[in-house]
Amino acid sequence: MTAPSHERAGAQTNISRAMRIDLQLIADMIEPRARVLDVGCGDGALLEYLATFKQVDGRGIELSMSGVNACISRGLSVIQGDADTDLKDYPDDAFDFVILSNTLQAMVAPRDVLGHMMRIGRHAIVSFPNFAYWRIRLDFLFGGRMPKSDLMPHEWYDTPNIHLCSIKDFVALCGEMGFRVERSLSLDSSGRARGIGAGFFTANLFGEQAVFLLTK
């Protein structure tokens, strides 16, 4: 475990208010009674919601001890581990859905993590902050310094977010890796969700974060 990755959980708790919206959108994409792996599950809020309201058979991976202990104490099945190294231990097609919420950008090897998610699961659900969001563009354009936002509140020298991308980048990567985008949503600053697709340019500019449902 590396120091920066420890901060991942911290990054999530900092943005817990904003997370609620994308977690709800993720939950809505999951079929009842599915087998779900939540990678970087934090304190298990999503897993607990899914267990309670969708009767899913859920598992989690979380780096921070506080998160893991909170999860297990809630009766959830969670292991302390690092997505960058531990996903390889899971067999093919073990889950219906593998979730990575607001964690992709903190991965050392996001491409490998996505590959493992799609190998382990029938579907992957990924949410991430959109680095092409207009405020971030303006910040950098006029401020001339590394942008910060509610979703990315860290200074450039201590951020856990080492692989930031835009919605456009992510769509390109999915195409390159042969993943089908089954559903995609962008969330504006007020948390309103819109389908990405026809309004691709708009989503990339006005979406503060995005949620993707991927299929092999």
Partner: protein, 398 residues
């Protein structure tokens, strides 16, 4: 056979042991012998055990607690020899993590032990003399098979949970591998799926200390009215160091002197740590048998769960429906977190239901015996979640 529901000495099985021990004792293997890994068949042997709490009507709330190397069945009550609290009294009792108001707790002295279960100290029924070194060499799996016979005897098909720390954790892993359908939840704590060279090395030091004691008499000390106190005490002292962490030792003892202002320029216990270890050694010999120590450490050294499964640990758990929760401690260098993580990876490889937490603690390997609130919280949370899945009432009737 009706299940025992409380520690009632009046319900004891007939005993072959002359020394009266509180609790239960049962003779097993009379109809069907226990075939040991070494090839020997054990016929008609005793198992001593304790139970706490009540078995529910559908016999679904039993938890088997497996003790560590020098533990025994007196998990939650004063020890009959030392008078000290049970080794897991912090964990087992009304309202505690292993809540005796909700669960039926079983704890048996392991095969090879010296508190009423068949072992080198007990009488070989075939000869009428103590087994001594003629007792067959046993394995962790043998201990578990004997426990399974006890669980059969108690009329319990499925255990709600099997748990234990250290060697107890190894038994938990064997339970999950040998009897997956009989174990709903498994909680191996501060354990490993095999003994490393370092683990074996420390045990060998202990065994050599015992065998070098002139009072050991080739293991036949009982017949000569002797006991290898000194060797056993040294073995305990060496092992005890491995149960602690350097940080805890340094903080507790440092280089502090024992009841003196200066060193004596001799070989008295000048330092507090020396005095502490001597005390640990000398109290241990009152309650433990040297030959048992040899047999049990050997069983641990031989333990390598993957070996039986083509060297692939995951194969030991293929198809398991057991819910696992592994717990390790940051300062445990005897069975470090990495060993638990290997087990977690093996369980992931077969898509098992597994939880894993590493608890931050300075107390080393012994953390599982101590007041570690976070450990207790995780353990209780896991059991509570498992209880709900098993259809048992949650805590406070939730």
């Amino acid at each position: 056979m009706t299940a025992t529901t409380s520690s009632d000495p009046s319900r004891n099985e007939p005993s072959r042991v002359s020394r009266p021990l509180p609790g239960h004792q049962v003779r097993l293997g009379r109809e069907r012998p226990l075939r040991l890994d070494c090839g020997v068949e054990l016929v008609d042997f005793t198992v001593a055990y304790q139970t706490y709490g009540r078995l529910n009507a559908d016999r679904s709330n039993a938890i088997l607690v497996c003790h560590a190397l020098t533990g025994d069945q007196f998990v939650a009550e004063p020890h009959p020899v030392t008078g000290k609290d049970g080794w897991w009294h912090m964990m087992v009792g009304p309202g505690k993590v292993l809540d005796t108001e909700r669960y039926f707790i079983i704890c048996a002295n392991i095969l090879g032990g010296c508190m009423g279960t068949a072992g080198p100290k007990e009488i070989n029924p075939a000869t009428g003399k103590p087994w001594g070194l003629s007792f067959p060499v046993i394995s962790i799996a043998d201990m578990v098979r004997a426990q399974a016979m006890l669980v059969d005897h108690l009329g319990i098909d499925n255990l709600f949970a099997v748990t234990g720390g250290s060697m107890g954790g190894m038994q938990v892993l064997e339970w999950a591998a040998l009897y997956p359908k009989r174990v709903f939840a498994a909680v191996p704590i501060a354990a490993a799926a095999h003994h490393t060279a370092q683990n074996i090395a420390f045990h060998e030091v202990g065994r050599q200390a015992i065998m070098a004691d002139p009072d050991w008499h080739g293991g036949d000390y009982a017949a000569r009215g002797a006991r290898p106190h000194r060797g056993l005490a040294v073995a305990r002292m060496a092992a005890h160091i491995t149960y602690l962490s350097e940080k805890a030792l340094q903080e507790k003892f440092g280089r502090k002197l024992q009841n003196r202002a200066a060193v004596t320029w001799g070989f008295d216990a000048d330092f507090q740590i020396e005095s502490y270890l001597r005390h640990q050694g000398s109290t241990f010999v009152d309650r433990f048998d040297a030959n048992s120590y040899l047999y049990i450490t050997r069983a641990m050294d031989y333990f390598d769960l993957a070996e039986r499964y083509g060297g692939v640990l995951a194969n030991a758990f293929r198809g398991t429906a057991t819910r696992f929760c592994l717990i390790s401690f940051t300062s445990d260098w005897l069975y470090p977190t990495e060993e638990s993580r290997k087990i977690v990876h093996a369980l992931n490889a077969v898509a098992a239901n597994v939880s894993f937490a590493e608890i931050v603690s300075d107390n080393g390997h012994d953390s599982f015996l101590l007041d570690e609130p976070e450990f207790h919280r995780v353990f209780e949370g896991f059991l509570d979640g498992a209880a709900e899945h098993r259809g048992l009432p949650r805590k406070n009737g939730r």
